[in-house]
């Protein structure tokens, strides 16, 4: 299993608002299915299906003992996903540093051209006056 395979599973898991809400709830502390189902108007089996998706993505861990399985947020995969997007941010930041320099060159060239045209116009006026 390559890293991008796992990342696509993570992004798939994050694509659902209910699952994101479950993760947000777990960020406040561990919870069982009943507690997780409370804020939502959907059945516990549906919540269980969401938990399976999150578990497969490695975003949560579920304890195996006892009647009430407790879910725990696993932060590492999220950090991996975030790190990935940060690489894109760096890509743009680097490009935009170059764009800064490019815009300075363009403005300088425009100013020089404007200066040259002005000088040319003045010269033309002088010539016409002389005629």
């Amino acid at each position: 299993m390559s890293a991008p395979d796992q990342l696509s599973v993570i992004f798939g898991a994050l694509a659902d608002p209910t699952r994101r809400a479950i993760l947000a709830r777990l960020a406040d502390g561990d919870a069982n299915v009943t507690e997780l189902a409370e804020p939502f108007s959907i059945s516990m089996p549906a919540i269980s299906r969401h938990l399976k998706v999150l578990e497969k993505a490695g975003l949560i861990a579920r304890s195996r003992s006892g009647q009430w399985r407790s879910s725990t947020l696993q932060a590492a995969p999220l950090q991996e996903a975030t790190a990935w997007m940060e690489q894109y941010r760096q890509f743009w930041d680097t490009s935009f540093d170059r764009l800064d320099a490019h815009l300075r060159r363009v403005q300088q060239a425009d100013a020089e051209q404007a200066g040259a045209e002005q000088a040319g116009a003045e010269h033309g006026t002088t010539q016409r006056t002389a005629e």
Binding site: S8, F11, A15, L23, R89, F91, L103, V106
Partner: protein, 153 residues
């Protein structure tokens, strides 16, 4: 907890929106700044047609290894001159992979006091379930990005 699925960048450029916009839509100009140092964007391979339904195609090539290249094909769905460029971007990675990654892209050019421009970039999503081809595309794109970033450090 934050689960961001869209990249947003806000940046001020010390130039008016007309110039910043032109630097994006003019193929010759975008080739002069797009991508990190050490990569070139050959003018002859660049194409830019900033109108609804038009494309902007760029090839980015590693100066030291011409086989290391990416193609970016942007299709414009919204164009407001000097104000807005939006559409989707198909990014293809290194040769040997057939994958294409599709992002939606939105670039807003806002005039700021003092002849400056605030650029708002939104790119994503970084979350949709991907097919095998797309996964390959991600892999190749980010392998390339990895090397790009290593070079730019």
């Amino acid at each position: 907890m934050t689960t961001t699925t869209e990249l947003t960048i806000s940046r001020i450029f010390d130039a008016p929106p007309e110039l910043v916009y032109r630097a994006f839509v003019d193929a010759d100009q975008i080739c002069q700044w797009f991508g990190p140092v050490g990569y070139s964007c050959p003018y002859e391979s660049a194409h830019s047609d900033a109108e609804v339904g038009g494309h902007q195609r760029l090839v980015m090539i590693n100066d030291d290894d011409p086989t290391d290249r990416s193609t970016i094909d942007m299709t414009f769905t919204e164009v407001v001159e000097n104000e807005l460029l939006a559409g989707h971007q198909d990014v293809q990675g290194i040769p040997g992979t057939t994958g294409t990654v599709r992002f939606h892209m939105r670039l807003e050019f806002h005039a700021e006091p003092g002849g400056k421009t605030r650029l708002e970039l939104r790119q994503g999503p970084f979350r949709e379930p991907l097919g095998d081809d797309a996964v390959q595309g991600w892999e190749s794109s980010f392998t390339k990005l990895d090397s790009l970033l290593r070079r730019s450090l």
